[in-house]
Amino acid sequence: MRFAPTEDQVDFRDAVRALLADTCPPEAVRAAWGGRVGEETGGGGGDGRVRAAWSALAEMGVLGVLVPESAGGLGLDDEDMVPLLVECGRAALPDPVTATAYVAAATLRDVGGEVADGWLPRLAAGEVAVAAGPLGDAPLAGALTADAFLVGDDAVLRWIPAGDVELEPLESVDGSRGLARLRGAATAGTALVEGPAAATVSAAAADRAALGAAAELVGLSERMLAMTVAYASERRQFGVPIGSFQAVKHQLADASLAVAFAAPLVLRAANSLAHGDPDAGLHVSMAKAKASSAARTAADASLQCHGAIGYTVEYDLHLFMKRAWALSAQAGGPDQHRARVRAALGLR
């Protein structure tokens, strides 16, 4: 029994944190905002990508963590990957690391075959970006710049190269999301898996999408809290730093408590997925439910403790907060995931 990342995992995580601090500062996130929302908030012109960070991540091996060594990756597992997604969240990196390097990489690795052979090396090299999600009507993040789509349901899992499917672009409150609905996906691209096996593979992909979002939410939450602690320590009202008021302290303590107890659930789910634990799906749902709620709590506390400055687009907080809003509802909100826990406990 040992419940902590290994030394290697800590080193890798720290390296990624440092890399993203360099290549994906808030200005880079801001520059990635596009569409009407991007313009309205004083940025605009971005396409939801921070390419400098993306190539640096590829170079460091992050995009190939789950890709087999034979395909140019590191051949590691969920436990190695998930802490790095926490770092992507901490930086509010808008690029589709979860969809590409986690969901798609793990799925192609597990499914194998021609599509996998063709795409996995390009994934690991950072040459392509993937958008992943359920086959259906839900908006897909990163769709506008995706080179391929991975969409599935209980009956089929499809791999669709960009261009084979029509996109209906959507504006998200977070201008870096590159959001769109797919039209005609049900018959586009290649069926990676069909029949009874599809349900299992689609479920695993959905679990990784949810866990990746949960990991990013932990990182986003920690970052928002750190920003708020820094601001509250400096901002003075009534002759003292506002962080010395108990009302501010307790809001931030509560938020940090929520995050502190969500983070272990995320790590455990990664362990379960890595080892094919039959309860892995349950563990993912526990993690996503709590990480989503924790992120909402952290966002609320951060905005409230910042006061009016947090409400401006010139200040960075909103970049993190809006991402947290988006990810907490993506890949299943807290209610949906608790419903799965309820079912696993044998309750209605």
Binding site: R36, V37, E40, T41, G42, A138, P139, L170, E171, S172, V173, D174, R177, L179, R236, Q237, F238, I242, F245, A247, V248, L303, Q304, G307, A308, G310, Y311, T312, V313, E314, H318, W325, A326, A329, Q330, G333, D335, A339
Partner: protein, 388 residues
């Protein structure tokens, strides 16, 4: 207790409703906190004024109908029910006007009130400063006496001024006696924004609207009292601005800024949304329960304000109890929108009306005195807990 409306109140309601249904802009206007939207809003406000719906409870002389506070509640209810636009004149008519009615001289009332109801003068608040937010008494913008010119010279910076970039006038506190203790030595000023020495810089709000402004004042001249209302002036006694301002913040926190009609209308739209989701078979009991709970709270707020109005009509002042209103409506507004976003599921992040409304609602617990400050007030001034 009498929870029925009289025949004349019912006919007032019918009149409001039919006028509103005929005139309300369809589709709705873009946000009034953008420059193009603001112009369209002004047209609407002037139409309201033309037909004497801008300020129903004011005397006819100032563009009102002399309606009772009850009738005002009815008007507000109909106004929000029909989905009419947010009032870009609200800071004037709901916050400054009650103060002018209470503290203004006849000359000030005559000059300002009509120009305000007709949306000729557009007022923004000048309370917050970079270092005086929750700590309003920490204001450092100052007004120096200019005896020769018969007035004051204002210098300093105001910020978080909602719609400041589109307004024509500012009301706010300035320090007239720098030696006095924090809450003293402040005076309430009325300032035309086209006065020499004023610079306004707009900046973006969370929801993407350019709704905030910083207002810089550099040796801006404002005449004494009501000597030249067109040029601005002081409202109430010199060095007594804190008390004058508190009358305004009571309005802001309490009922006049946030009539129950607004939240009942939102709650009604929330229930409609829930019914749609239910019809498609996707409504969970969990979210339905939250819809019901938020809807009950909107009703509770409406009833609470009926109590407020009864008190005001019968001459009992709500006083610090207005902090109850502020905390409740602001957190209710957030909750109504949160539940709506839950109903939208994976579409919640789309930049649609509920998300916009949510972003706007999030400002509620912050402005008009953060809810932390309001809870202090409830604890100290309503419950009687010790300050120190």
């Amino acid at each position: 207790m009498d929870l029925t409306w009289s025949a004349s109140e019912e006919s007032f309601r019918a009149e409001c409703r039919s006028w509103l249904e005929e005139h309300v802009p369809r589709p709705g206007l873009p946000s009034g906190d953008t420059s193009e939207g603001f112009a369209l809003h002004l047209e609407w406000e002037r139409l309201l004024h033309r037909d004497r719906w801008a300020v129903v409870s004011w005397p006819e002389a100032y563009g009102g109908r002399g309606a009772s506070l009850w009738e005002w509640l009815i008007f507000e209810e109909e106004y929000y029910r029909v989905g009419a636009p947010q009032r870009v004149t609200q800071n004037g008519i709901f916050l400054l006007a009650p103060t002018i009615f209470e503290f203004g001289t006849p000359a000030q009332q005559d000059h300002y009130l009509t120009r305000m109801s007709s949306a000729e003068d557009l007022w923004c608040q000048g309370w917050s400063e970079p270092n005086a937010g929750s700590d309003l008494a920490g204001i450092t913008s100052r007004a120096a006496r200019d005896d020769a010119a018969g007035g004051w010279r204002l210098t300093g910076q105001k910020t978080w001024t909602t719609r400041g970039a589109f307004c024509t006038h500012l009301f706010g506190l300035f320090r007239t006696d720098p030696d006095a203790e924090r809450h003293r030595g402040l005076t309430y000023f009325l300032v035309p924004l086209d006065a020499e020495g004023v610079t306004v810089r707009g900046f973006g709000r969370l929801d993407g609207d350019e709704g905030f402004a910083e207002v810089f004042l550099d040796d801006v001249f404002v005449p004494d009292g009501d000597t030249d209302p067109a040029g601005g002036g002081t409202l109430g006694a010199v060095d007594q601005g804190w008390g004058v301002a508190m009358a305004t913040t009571t309005s802001e926190r309490g009922l006049t800024l946030r009539s129950p009609g607004r939240f009942r209308a939102t709650a009604g739209r929330l229930v409609d949304l829930a019914r749609e989701v239910d019809a498609s078979g996707c409504l969970s009991e969990l979210v339905a329960d939250r819809v019901a709970d938020a809807w009950i709270d909107a009703e509770a707020y409406a009833l609470f304000t009926l109590g407020d109005v009864t008190d005001i009509v019968e001459g009992r002042s709500p006083g610090a109890r207005s902090s109850y209103n502020k905390i409740f409506w602001s957190e209710l507004d957030v909750r109504l929108h949160e539940v709506a976003l839950e109903l939208l599921g994976a579409d919640a992040e789309l930049d649609g009306p509920w998300m916009k409304g949510y972003e706007f609602a999030l400002s509620g617990p912050i402005y008009a005195g953060t809810n932390e400050i309001q809870r202090n007030i409830v604890a100290e001034r309503v419950l009687g807990l010790p300050r120190k």
